[in-house]
């Protein structure tokens, strides 16, 4: 640095032109914005192609023309999106604008608490007992809107070809045999134990307790994500290799690959008590999940029609799988699938608002 001063001089000069440039740019942005926006109310462009959700939250709240708009949450699985879009199609035909927001389950509860989400139409009770207690029975900021209809079940699954090779594995007792359990060993479980794979930590899990209490020679490994489970299933099916995992129904993957649920000891009152107490003694199957709907406590006051429709809205397991199939199998967007199903079931849908 021989002559810092001269450098600085140059930088001075530079700085001021820079600033001019920035000002000009800012001005240009503002002008362009004005020009482009002049008289343009037609800017509600549809998205380009593959996109299914509204990009921005400008639809809700600002147009209270035909019944105040509501916001429904779609959690990250097809069933959840399908319910929300069926409700959207029905409610919009009745004049209530509906925005469907994609977001995860736990921010959904917080959103229902503060009112930025009006309702969610598919909650799996097993994963949200604490939320139920905190928001529905405790704070009463969220209300239970009744059952959705379909039931779901978490369980232990293995590829069906494993049962064909080793029929004993159809029930948990088959896994007591260390030789059979060892078939399921991996680098993570070591050579002496079989691997039991648990997936997404947002699901309720008793597997570690079940393994310990039934004294099975299995090692509990957490994949950490649903993607982990799905990839392991793909590999097991492609290579015909053993795999034992926590999985559930309904799930789109169940239609694609052949998995069989391993029978665990039946759910008893004792088990349910143990689960509630969290004493670590749980040793039976998962209870069936009766999916339910939940809403912000202010929904009825905000939009009585929406409250009525969402309270009445029910789908059977078959109906939900049918609509989900349009999405997963036929590649429709959830909105198209919902529209198609609503059009074919107008009587049923009409009863929700009657």
């Amino acid at each position: 640095m021989n002559s810092p001063f001269i450098d600085t001089e140059e930088e001075f000069a530079h700085m001021s032109t820079q600033r001019r440039t920035i000002r000009l740019l800012a001005a240009s942005l503002a002008i362009t914005g004005l020009l482009a926006a002049c008289g343009s109310d037609d800017t509600e462009d549809a998205d380009s192609g593959s996109v299914t959700t509204e990009p921005a939250g400008d639809a809700a709240g600002e147009t209270p023309s035909a019944g105040e708009g509501i916001v429904l949450a779609a959690n990250p699985w097809t069933g959840s999106a399908v319910n929300a879009y069926v409700a959207k199609v029905v409610l919009e035909s009745l004049g209530t604008p509906v925005e469907v927001k994609d977001l995860d389950e736990n921010s959904t509860w917080v959103g229902m608490d503060d009112g930025s989400i009006d309702a969610v139409l598919e909650v799996w009770p097993s994963g949200h007992a604490a939320d139920y207690e905190a928001y529905i029975t405790g704070k009463k900021s969220v209300i239970d809107l009744g059952l959705l209809g379909p039931s779901a079940k978490i369980g232990w699954y293995i590829p069906t070809f494993m049962i064909e090779q080793h029929p004993e594995l159809a029930t948990w007792e088959g896994f007591k045999d260390p030789e059979l359990a060892k078939l399921f060993s991996t680098a993570e479980s070591g050579d002496d134990l079989g691997q039991f794979l648990m997936g997404d930590p947002s699901y309720v899990t008793f597997d570690e307790q079940v393994i310990a209490n039934l004294e099975l020679p299995l090692k509990f490994v957490v994949a950490g994500s649903e993607a982990g489970l799905l990839t392991e299933i793909d590999k097991a099916i492609a290579d015909e290799t053993p795999l034992l995992l926590q999985f559930w129904k309904p799930h789109w993957k169940q239609l694609e690959v052949d998995l069989t649920e391993v029978a665990l000891p039946e759910v008893t009152d004792e088990c349910l008590a143990s689960a509630a107490a969290g004493d670590g003694l749980y040793a039976c199957d998962y209870a069936v999940d009766e999916l339910y709907k939940a809403a912000n406590a202010g929904l009825e006051a905000k939009n009585a029609m929406a409250f009525k429709v969402l309270s009445n809205l029910q789908l059977t397991t078959e109906q939900q799988s049918e609509i989900a199939g349009y999405v997963d199998r036929d590649g429709m967007t959830p909105l198209e699938a919902a529209q198609k199903w609503v059009d074919a079931n107008t009587d049923l849908v009409a009863a929700w608002s009657a």
Binding site: T32, G33, L35, A130, D131, G280
Partner: protein, 663 residues
């Protein structure tokens, strides 16, 4: 805890034994080590300071008191403001339509960095449109720009403050480390509690992540302004404000621009995560692809994020990398005022034409769906690299080796070693590196992990956070070693060959910005669920900075010493090993240091592919906040503590030997 802190007050007296300086420290550490072995080898439960319970109680209090005045009078208005800011930016971008945005990118690029940057920036933006995700990309861009502006508004003043006060620098350093390494999943749900869903929490999460580089590089830039320059300013009677604005900031310009650049890159790194909270942007498409296990579908929006990052990177790099190559096209030179006027006109014309011609959406006929070819390529990789590859055997056997022969033995060793012995050993390494201060610092950080309590589960029904931390440490160390082994040779190559550097640059950009969710599935498929996959995912993310800084370091070695070596008849290899590498040592160590921080920042991503340990516990706070927010915070703090220890040690090794001082 008394064990490790006891020696501090005695430290000054050691100076007496100048000739045999090592005797006293060796004795101190020896005694401490014996004590460490003699006491409980496991973390005692009384050490638990109850942090998990405090955090959970605080969280429950917050959700039960959301009608408290502080929400109505502070968080709600703030959240509205953030929402409006993002919507305004989005409004402008939508009003400009895609031709206007592309033109604006080109104009800004031209003015800050010349025609080449203009062309690259515009091409990248056009690429986003061709991918068919323009509308969502603009949402992402609006969130980004808002967050970057806020991060600079917070970061630059803090950077100026830290450059003037050593105490401020020390205090803020810990805060910045925490912001950078604390996994976002720990605080995402609390952010939603304070800022509701949608854009505001996305902006807040991004700002938290992007402020640290803004502060650090502003501080660094201002501190590296030569004293002489400052004195000249003073002698001409500059007020402190003039001194700052007219002398220091301009002098630090290139570092500040690097700061801007890093702020943008960090912000892009979190964009997918933020979309979980309902922002409805590109990240959402990535997650949808992931749900369907469709790598191609997740890759398209991921690649759009990379292109956005490249566009912003090239036009924000400014004159930092004035190319030595001749300009692409030589235009009659115009001064800046005329130039910006021409640019302004160009942008207006583009936007107006777009409006008149109704080009609001990019023509669908011109979009290209690359998801199919990506799936084919990924399918080929998955089918062919998994097993039966000549020589190396395939990814499955690599994974088996890594898990059974390296990770598991290392984990068992670290868990088996009495915990205080590890604290003492790390303190010893710290002492040997720079002295007592570092030794005490490292030991206290590790002791903090001991106070984080235990979680239910595992053998015996409870697992100490310490044991999980040792599990994580074993994985992190392996990932760091592998990253450095890969990055150093590539960095040397990039430093010595322009062509290699040019070829590597887009790959490095991609590895750094591509949302990790996109490549989780192939990594899982190749390596299987578990720690091996976790290590691989971390390595992919962590090597770019090390390659970049090694290359940069080699390039910045002045020509004179190399010339001297050559004139003494040094071979190419000798020139590299004996001249360039030693002179680039600091830069290389900084690269390794960055790699370490990146590996720790991805502990949670590793947990999503089965690495478990601290990352999984931290992630669980996001999946079951009411039950697990406390554990999650404790795990997050443990990750930060590990990061600080590894960071301080490597930084100490990176300072040149003459700066090191032995007692």
């Amino acid at each position: 805890m008394a064990l490790a802190t006891a020696p501090t007050p005695m430290a000054p007296t050691f100076g007496i034994a100048a000739t045999r300086w090592w005797i006293v420290p060796a004795a101190v550490f020896g005694v401490l080590a014996v004590l460490a072995i003699a006491v409980n080898p496991n973390v005692p439960s009384w050490l638990d300071i109850g942090l998990q319970r405090w955090v959970r109680d605080g969280y429950m209090w917050t959700i039960e008191n959301s009608d408290h005045w502080i929400f109505a009078s502070f968080f709600d208005p703030l959240s509205d403001l953030l929402d409006r800011l993002v919507e305004s930016v989005l409004w402008v971008l939508e009003a400009l339509r895609w031709p206007g945005v592309v033109a604006l990118t080109a104009v800004i690029g031209w003015m800050t960095a010349g025609p080449r940057a203009a062309l690259t920036g515009a091409a990248a933006m056009l690429g986003v449109a061709v991918l068919g995700v323009w509308a969502l990309a603009m949402v992402t861009l609006s969130i980004m720009l808002t967050a970057v502006a806020i991060a600079l508004a917070i970061g630059v003043p803090l950077g100026i403050w830290t450059s003037r006060s050593d105490r401020a620098e020390r205090v803020l350093r810990g805060v910045l480390d925490t912001a950078q390494v604390m996994p976002a999943f720990v605080y995402l749900i609390p952010i939603v509690v304070f800022f509701s869903i949608g854009y505001p929490p996305a902006v807040v999460a991004t700002v938290i992540y992007a402020v640290p580089p803004a502060v650090r590089l502003t501080n660094l830039g201002l501190r590296s302004v030569p004293v002489v320059t400052n004195e000249v300013g003073q002698s001409f009677g500059c007020t402190p404000w003039q001194q700052l604005v007219k002398v220091q900031l301009p002098m630090a310009r290139s570092t500040l621009l690097l700061g801007l650049n890093q702020v943008i890159m960090m912000a892009f790194g979190i964009v997918v995560i933020a979309s979980i909270l309902g922002a409805g942007d590109l990240g959402n498409l990535v997650l949808k692809g992931l749900q369907k296990n469709d790598v191609g579908a997740a890759f398209v929006p991921g690649f759009a994020i990379v292109l956005l990052a490249i566009a912003l990177d090239r036009i924000s790099t400014g004159e930092r990398t004035v190319s030595s190559r001749p300009p692409l096209i030589r235009l009659p030179s115009v001064d800046r005022r005329t130039g910006s006027l021409i640019g302004l006109v160009a942008v207006i014309v583009a936007a107006t034409v777009a409006k008149v011609a109704d080009l609001s959406t990019f023509p669908a006929a011109l979009t290209v769906d690359i998801s199919g070819s990506i799936n084919d390529a990924v399918g080929w990789v998955q089918d062919n690299l998994r097993k039966d590859v000549p020589l190396i055997g395939g990814t499955e056997s690599i994974n088996d080796f890594l898990v059974t022969k390296v990770l598991e033995p290392l984990r068992e060793f670290l868990v088996w070693t009495p915990w205080l012995l590890i604290v003492v050993a790390v303190a010893g390494i710290g002492y040997l590196s720079t002295g007592w201060r570092l030794a005490v610092g490292c030991a206290s950080c590790l002791l903090v992990i001991g106070t984080m309590g235990a979680i239910p589960g595992g053998e015996g029904g409870r697992t100490q956070m310490w044991d999980l931390a040792m599990d994580t440490l074993s994985q992190v160390l392996v990932a760091i070693v592998i990253s450095v082994l890969i990055a150093l040779p590539l960095g040397v190559l990039a430093g010595r060959s322009d062509r290699a550097q040019r070829i590597m640059r887009p790959f490095l950009d991609t590895a750094q910005v591509m949302p990790q969710f996109v490549y989780l599935i192939p990594v899982l498929f190749l390596f299987g669920v578990g720690r091996g996959a976790g290590v691989v995912a971390s390595v992919i993310y962590a090597i770019p900075p090390c390659i970049r800084l090694t290359g940069l370091g080699l390039r910045e070695v002045p020509y004179t010493p190399r010339e001297a070596a050559i004139s003494f008849g040094a071979t190419k290899r000798q020139e590299l090993v004996k001249v360039q590498l030693p002179l680039a040592f600091r830069s290389i160590m900084l690269g390794i240091n960055q790699t370490i921080l990146m590996v720790l920042a991805t502990v949670i991503i590793a947990a999503l592919v089965g690495a478990g340990a601290l990352g999984l516990v931290a992630y669980e706070g996001f999946t079951k906040p009411i039950q697990k927010i406390g554990q999650s915070a404790a795990a997050g703090i443990s990750i930060v503590c590990l990061a600080i220890v590894l960071d301080r040690l490597t930084q100490a090794w990176g300072t040149s030997p003459d700066q090191q001082r032995r007692p």
